[in-house]
């Protein structure tokens, strides 16, 4: 049976690994602040590649894990680019760049579509990099201790992240057991036949956990101790403040350059426009064919 990872965290000693989780949260906030309103695909793709470069600096294992995350984001990126290319959502007037059969490609659609694709790739990659270099218990511990988030909420969030891989593993065992008994491998009946034993087992875990929590005075007041202590150093303070200030400054520069405005008129070289439209269309078709094949062709069992 394949082993299931408990989190996406990869231990390491890079600069990002050594930062306090709250500092990483400030970095994510600043990055999202810059990316989200930005309507310029070139800069968004630059930020995406910069995030990949940062992942490479954190070590080979981190880089590989982040690349896997990018693969998960690609179908969404292709779909977003393709939709806007052919069915532009920004208000008219639109200028036609080229025709692909019955489909019409507009300059505005291409620009807007690649803005969406670049945005999801940049934001998703950077955020996933931070997930990979942060231990979840450190993050929730810091949120509770320094940002005073309710202990119950932090406990539930952490317990959820720990339960998922455990139930995932149990689901794999149950599916194998049910299939070895000759149960169908597809359809709602098969889903229920596997889901109900899984829930029974999950409920038993919840019951035991509730009793343990009760026995250990869950919800009592007083200072909670932690297994992993993470310092909030001077570097953390400087990086947190600098990232938020820099984020605000870049946001202001974006505003001055009119990069928020999606109503601007853009011009792209017609050959490049055709290449970009074909890339978006082919990428979307490839992933949709993959999804349809997975939906139709039975796997295993």
């Amino acid at each position: 049976m394949s082993t299931v990872q408990l989190t996406f965290y990869i231990p390491g000693n890079s600069v990002l690994h050594r930062l306090n989780p709250l500092t990483k949260l400030a970095l994510v906030l600043a990055f999202l602040m810059i990316c989200f309103p930005l309507m310029h695909p070139l800069y968004l793709f630059l930020m995406f590649f910069a995030s990949l470069g940062l992942a490479a600096l954190c070590g080979r294992r981190v880089f590989r894990r982040v690349l896997l995350g990018v693969v998960v984001l690609l179908p969404a990126a292709f779909a977003m680019a393709m939709f806007q290319c052919f069915w532009t959502a920004v208000p008219p007037p639109w200028r036609v760049a080229c025709h692909l059969g019955p489909l019409r490609v507009t300059y505005e659609g291409l620009w807007y579509g690649y803005v969406f694709a670049g945005r999801i790739l940049a934001m998703g990659t950077f955020t996933f990099l931070m997930v990979v270099v942060t231990h979840p218990s450190d993050l929730f511990g810091e949120l509770r201790e320094r940002l005073k988030l309710p202990y119950t909420f932090c406990f539930m969030a952490l317990a959820s992240l720990q339960f998922i891989p455990i139930l995932w593993r149990e689901a794999t065992v149950i599916i194998s057991a049910q299939q070895s008994r000759g149960l169908p491998a597809r359809g709602f009946q098969a889903f229920l036949a596997n889901f109900i034993p899984l829930f029974a087992s999950a409920w038993e875990r919840a019951r035991v956990l509730a009793m343990s929590l009760e026995a250990r005075a869950f919800g009592s007041s007083g200072k909670k101790t932690r297994l992993r202590e993470v310092p909030f150093t001077l570097t953390d303070k400087v990086v947190s403040v600098a990232s938020l200030v820099l984020g605000a400054v870049i946001l202001y520069i974006e505003y001055l350059n009119n990069w928020f405005n999606f109503m601007r008129t853009y011009w792209i070289d017609p050959t490049l426009a055709l290449v970009l439209a074909l890339t978006a269309l082919n990428g979307f078709i490839a992933f949709m064919v993959y999804f349809l094949v997975r939906l139709v062709v039975p796997t295993g069992g």
Binding site: F8, V72, L73, L74, P75, A76, A79, M80, M82, F83, Q84, W87, A89, F116, I120, M123, G124, T127, V131, T152, F155, M156, A157, A159, S160, L161, Q162, F163, I164, I166, L167, W168, A171, I175, A185, R186, G187, F188, Q189, F191, L192, N194, F195, I196, L198, F199, A202, W203, R205, R207, L209, A210, M211, L213, F218, G219, M288, F291, L292, L295
Partner: protein, 224 residues
């Protein structure tokens, strides 16, 4: 003999049940891929929490679910936490009003929740993602767009067909799960006995297919 139940559910039970419900949501979403089901089924745990604990605990469960899905599966799903939260609130308050105590009312709850949740999902699809998220329902959206619908209407039409089947199935599976829970967790709301799985599937498929036919009829005959 009367069963004695506590006035309120102990915090330790809540703190244990919500992570399990969250995990069930995430694993449910994963199992539908394994069993090739064209639905989401990532809100069953939220429905269980909404019916048994309270609407606001269901919101917590819904938000945690989408955070976990974003971490473990795909970050695209993070903004859809709003849908999961609204679904939890809607189911929780309707269950308190007695909409979970018999088959027709539960079916009504499932169908109307699909419209409520899709209404929350459409602005997220359109304004955050430009209408597409890389899900298989994007194919339907593309077909509706090519048929001449505006982007929000195309996203709504493709989403509602999947959502109807999904939400009706979710509430019926949640009712089946609640039957297995201890009395201390289920005395607050009167909940019907779970119908056989086959009936739930027929009803959910029927509702979704009817909606698909209505949408096709709208295009072909220009109804309403």
């Amino acid at each position: 003999m009367a069963v004695s139940v506590p006035e309120r559910v102990p915090t330790s039970y809540i703190a244990a049940l919500i992570p399990v419900a969250t995990a069930i949501n995430v694993i449910g979403g994963w199992l539908v891929n394994i069993f090739h089901l064209p639905v989401f089924l990532d809100m069953i745990g939220t429905a269980v929490v909404a019916f048994t604990l309270s609407p606001w605990w269901a919101v917590v469960c819904g938000v945690l679910t989408n955070i976990a899905i974003a971490v473990f599966i795909n970050p695209v799903y993070l903004p859809f936490a709003a849908c999961n939260a609204v679904g939890g609130l809607y189911w929780g308050y309707l269950a308190r009003l007695g909409f979970a105590k018999d088959f027709p009312r539960l079916l009504f709850m499932g169908i109307t929740s699909a419209f409520v949740i899709t209404s929350v999902a459409v602005p997220i699809y359109v304004f955050v993602f430009g209408g597409a998220t890389g899900h298989f329902s994007d194919i339907m959206t593309a077909a509706f767009l090519q048929a001449g619908l505006a982007l929000p209407a195309a996203v709504f039409s493709s989403n509602i067909i999947v959502s109807l089947a999904d939400k009706v199935l979710s509430v019926f599976v949640a009712v089946a799960i609640i039957e297995a829970l201890p009395p201390a967790l289920k005395y607050r709301v009167e909940i019907m006995r779970a119908p056989p799985a086959r009936i739930a599937v027929y009803v959910a498929s029927g509702v979704a297919i009817s909606m698909a036919f209505l949408l096709i009829a709208k295009f072909i005959f220009g109804l309403w």
